[in-house]
Amino acid sequence: MRNVFLFLRRYSVFFTFLVLQAISLSFLFRYNRFHRAQFLGIATEITGRINTQYNKVEDYFSLKQENKRLHHLNDSLLNLLQSNFVRPDSGVTLVKDTIPYDTLGHYRRYLYRDASVVYNTVSSQKNYFQINRGSIRGIKDNMAVISSDGYPVGIIVNVSDNFSEAMSLLHVQNTVNASLKKGGEFGTLQWDGKDPRYLTLKNIPKSADVKKGDTVLTSTYSYNFPPGYIIGTVAGISIDNVTGFFTLKVKTAADFFSLQKVHVIENLQYDEQVQLFNDTKKKIEQPKSGSR
């Protein structure tokens, strides 16, 4: 027994080294595989506060650009106002001055909230950014995030009281359902982790008529993103010989390098859709006892 203690004492530094390595590696494999780390919630609060201070300074340098973008988006939104449209039938001009809501069965499906980005990276293979709205302000997991000029940039993956963490489109584990504007063929949008200016759109059928410069939109099948937001344009076309599908290189429309103001989009029917999907799966795959 004495020898065991002597042995431990003699190599105490080495054992400390092993223990610390084990702790680090367990952190690494436990939290990074599931990026919704609980302890990041606390860390997010602390680093979030420091980041906010830093961001106040940083914001000044891109005010001009940001204003320009904001102006563009406002402009396009103004064009969508119902009051722009009139119905010149039957000699009476009907001008609507509010968006119809709950009158003739209209309902709201998407809700927008604005937020500022307080921390952002593009230099790793798994990029996240942090925004200054948290669960107190109604942010929940799986909400979509678009930049102030209306291009999709990520999905919320972790929420603390005052801040949330979003997984950028520039994250090798992020997948978004996207479709081509021209033919409507849909595929899976991923990032290969190499060049932050380009994303990869997979599983587009060979029958699709694709040319360079075609627009890629968020798909109508996406649970997170509202349909029709521009993700980017096709920059390269290649055929996957194994599966026989197109693999497209998509130039991103969003500028991930200078992300400042974003909109967080909530799909109010997200829970219902996912619930239905899971229930269906369960119902169909359930082993049946009696004969049909």
Binding site: L20, I23, S124, Y128
Partner: protein, 177 residues
């Protein structure tokens, strides 16, 4: 200034510079992020205990991990170089701690060649391990090799730039003290 105060200020500065300047630089090529923060470990005094060195390395790595949201990644690389540091110093300068005329590893304390070798060995070690851990979950082998070499080159360039631009004021230690 006492050694503890001096190193605490250094710790904060290195983390802030790494997070807010170096990590923000648009990448030079693919994923070469310039790393400088681990220079803190290389600059710690000679007389720090080996166990203490490991803990300081762990805390430094973890502090950076909090900012980059990669818990454990930098911590584990830092612990590795903190463990390897005494061996490398002993290999290059086989003498007792009390025999050193300066408190911290520097060009003055060790001489140009040994200091450069000391920096290079630990930088390569740090980057190889760091990139290896990142690579485990993702990437091709060629990416791995390119990234190790690229990151090491950039880091060495940065470290020597820092050495030249901000010479540390180190007191010559005498027996009178």
């Amino acid at each position: 200034m006492s050694s503890i105060v001096r190193n605490t200020i250094r710790f904060v500065l290195f983390i802030l510079i790494q997070v807010y300047i170096l990590n923000k630089i648009p990448q030079l090529h693919l994923f070469i992020t310039p790393y400088l923060y681990f220079l803190f470990i290389l600059w710690l005094p000679f007389n720090i205990s080996r166990g203490g060195l490991l803990f300081v390395g762990f805390v430094l790595g973890l502090a950076l991990d909090y900012f980059t949201l990669t818990p454990g990644l930098h911590a584990s690389a830092c612990v590795l170089i903190a463990y390897a540091r005494p061996f490398v110093i002993h290999l290059l300068m086989p003498k007792d701690i009390t025999e050193f005329n300066y408190r911290e590893p520097s060009v003055k304390a060790m001489g140009w060649t040994p200091y450069a070798i000391y920096i290079s060995i630990l930088t390569v070690l740090h980057h190889t391990y760091l990139v290896f851990l990142e690579w485990l979950s993702f990437g091709s082998f060629l990416d791995f090799i390119i990234k190790v070499f690229g990151t090491t080159a950039i880091s060495l360039l940065l470290i020597f730039t820092v050495e030249f631009l901000f010479p540390r004021q180190l007191k010559y230690r005498t027996n009178v003290q």
